[in-house]
Structure formats: C-alpha cells, structure tokens
C-alpha cells in the first residue's frame, strides 16, 4: 500500500512537470510568456517529487541509488532542480524550456515503464562517498542539460520557425557563451565526480581506477567535455558547431549513465 502511495505521489509530480513543460512549449509556439505559471508548476512538481522520494527512502531505508527506477526518478528530480534554478535565475533564456522539457518527458516516460520493485543497498554503498560521487554526477548532468537547451535554440534558429520563435532571445554568440559557461560548470563537477569515484573505488575495491566500462566511458565523456571547451577557446568555433559539440557530449554522458549499466559485468555498475 505504501509503495502504491509513493507511485501515486510520483504520478502527481510527473503531471505537474508535464503541465509545466507543455505550458512552456505552448508559450513558445504562441509567443506568450507564461513564465510564472511554468515556474510555479515546476516548483510544485519538485516538492511532490521530493515527497515521493522521501517516502520510498523511509520505507526501504536507503536513497534512490540502486535500480534503474531509482536512478531515473532521482535523475529526473535533480535535472528538474538544476533546470528550475536556471529557469528562475536566467529569465531571458526561459524559452529554452521548449527544448529541455521534451528530454525530461522522455526520461519520465521511461521512468513509468521500469519496475519500481524493492531494492537492497549493496555493502559498498554504505559510505558518504555515495552521496558525494552521485551528487557531483547529477550537477554535471544538470549543467549539461541547460547547455543542451541553449544549444537547441541556436540550432533551431537555422530554420525559419526557430528564428521567428526565438528572435527575442539574445544572439547566438551570447547564447553560445552562456552554454560554454554551463559546460564549464559541468566540467568542474565531472572532474570532481571522477575524483570522488576514485576515492570510493579505492576504499571499496583496493584500486582507484580499473578501466571498467563505466569508468572508461566516464573518462571518454570527460575528454569530450574538455575537447569541446578547448575547441571554443582555441579554434573559436561557430555557435552552431559549439552547439553540436554540446549535444554530442550530453548524448555520450546520457549513454554512459543510462546505457553502460545494461552491458557491463563489472562490480561498478551504476544502475542495476
């Protein structure tokens, strides 16, 4: 019964998110700015979602760190949190919600299809490094999501619809600069995530780096972020090329966090 109530609360959060996203997309299409309502719905969704995660945490005795359901619900929560902060603090670029929210809709749809079965926390997860390592990873993904939203606007401006829809937003150079900042923030947190993960791995398995699939793909993601940042400074690439690089980094990071757990056989699995 408790599990059912958690799912009902989670559904409530998803409905609030979907309303917020739909309103944001409609606002962009109709050239309206229902920003307050969108932000209010995001905050309501986050509060309800927090309650859902807290209920499950209380029932199972551990946080949402083990199964794909738990990883997805915690990531939807953290991505929404980072994006809501960006939405609140960067009012000029709020229409990027029309790009970001469909990505979150896909994750929410996936969340609704995976089993919310009970999980047990593995012995290696009884450490503070769990929170540090995963926390940094979530900030990284959140920062990359905002950068992807800005990149989506830049790329959509190549079309007539996009250039008309987003004509009141800052020019591509400013958006690209802002995207660069979010990628840089993501880079710092990805670096911290790797360091924290190495400390945790050393403690749990006696080696700080083992080139297991998740570590290797995390490192590839880190290299791609570094290359995209360097390319912007060194080669002064155009906003469009920068936008494509940001999207490539996000896709790689997404596949690393949500795809590698399906194929790896190592103890370092991420979601299981």
């Amino acid at each position: 019964m408790e599990a059912l109530n958690e799912l009902r609360v989670l559904w409530g959060a998803v409905v609030a998110y979907v309303l917020a996203g739909s309103l944001a997309i409609l606002g962009v299409m109709l050239k309206k700015r229902p920003d307050r309502y969108v932000l209010a719905l995001m905050v309501v969704g986050l509060l309800v979602h927090t309650a859902s995660i807290a209920m499950r945490w209380e029932r199972l005795g551990h946080g949402p760190f083990v199964s794909m359901f738990e990883i997805l619900t915690s990531n939807v929560w953290s991505l929404m949190l980072v994006f809501s902060i960006a939405y609140w603090r960067l009012p000029v670029v709020r229409p990027m919600a029309a790009v970001v929210m469909p990505i979150l809709f896909i994750m929410m749809g996936w969340l609704m299809t995976v089993s919310p079965g009970e999980t047990r926390l593995p012995p290696t997860y009884h450490t503070v490094w769990l929170f540090v390592h995963i926390g940094f990873a979530k900030v990284f993904m959140g920062a990359m999501l905002v950068a992807v939203g800005l990149s989506g606007i830049i790329l959509s401006r190549a079309t007539r619809f996009g250039s008309e829809t987003f004509h009141r937003l800052p020019d591509n150079d400013r958006l690209s600069d802002l995207g660069f900042r979010w990628v840089a923030v993501g880079f710092v947190f990805h670096t911290l995530m790797l360091i924290a993960g190495a400390i945790w791995a050393q403690d749990a398995w006696g080696r700080y780096w083992d080139w297991d699939p998740l570590e290797t793909w995390s490192f590839i993601t880190w290299l791609m972020v570094a290359i995209s940042l360097h390319a912007r400074i060194t080669f002064r690439i155009s906003p469009r090329v920068g936008a494509w690089m940001t999207i490539a980094v996000f896709v790689t990071a997404f596949l690393t966090f949500f795809g590698i757990p399906f194929v790896t056989q190592s103890a370092h699995q991420g979601a299981v």
């Binding site: 012995p123 400013r174 710092v188 700080y208």
Partner: protein, 191 residues
Amino acid sequence: MIGDDKPLVRNGYRFYTTWNKGFALVFRWQPNRGPVAVGSVNLPGYPANALKQAQEWKLPGVADPVWAMLQFDETLIPDDREAEFRLPEDYRVVVRHGEQRWEIDPYRPAAIRFAEGSLQYLGLTTWMGYLVVWDGTIPWLLLASAIAALALSLHFWQHFSRQPWNPAGAGQVSCNDTQTTGAVIGSIERT
C-alpha cells in the same frame, strides 16, 4: 570484520577478499629429534584447478620432497546453479615420497613413518587469498587532483565573473551588464 567489498584495515594496509580459494591438508610432523611442527599444505585454487588438487613440499630435515593429493568425486560447485564453497564430504588423501605411496583414510588416519620422523594427517581445511593494498602515492594523487579541480574552478570563476550570467535579450540591455550598458549609453550620447 572483513567481507566482500569490505576491507580489513590494519596499520594503513587494506585486506580485501578475493575469488582465489582452495583446500589445505593439515599435517603434524614429529621428527625423531626436535620439536613437533604442525602446518598446512595449500592445494592449488579450487575450482580453477579442480583436476590438479596436488602439492609437493619438503618436510624439515627430509631431503626428498613429499607429494600429497586430495581426491573426491563430488561436484562441489556445479556450473548450472549457485553453490557455496565447502569441504567435500567423502574424500581421500594420497601421499607419495620417492617410490612409496600411502592412501590416508581421513576418518582413521594412520601416521606415516619416515626414516627422519613421523607424519600424521590431521584434517582438511580451506584457504583464501587476500588482496593486500598499500600505496603511499595515493594521498599525493588525491592532493594533486584536488588542486587541479580547485585551479580549474578558480580559472572559470575569474573568467566568468567579468560578464553577467543573465544575458540581455534582443533589443534589451541587461541591468548588471556594465560594459554593455556603458557602450550603449555612449552610443546614445554620440547620436
């Protein structure tokens, strides 16, 4: 306490369990003169060396090595299901020294007489391999990583603090964008 993924930490050394494990034959060696010695003969890892459960070793004061083998027919760890590593219920131990050969009944073990003393089989037990880790460079690696991450953060902080995060929209001027505002005011004054 030590367990899977849970090391035992002693004096900076970390002891981790491993998959490496096997059987060990325990013997007591009673030389004709001198103290009694009790020790185990670790057999090769099981099940990796399931068909090579034999080991050669030297008894104190005996020139030629002694060879011992554990024999059993049970399938302790089947391939098709989960199983727990345990001692076989029915087994025998074969000992060879030069041309001589003995078969030991584990339930009624008789002492084996050598010219230099007597060897008594005491029982079968298990051994486990541990990974022992000590790496003095790790604190320095951590320090270097932390400094690199801090330097990276400071670099970006200094770089980004020059311009506001909230950019001006088309036809707008951001309130806290002093550089842009100054330029726009300058252009208005000139016109």
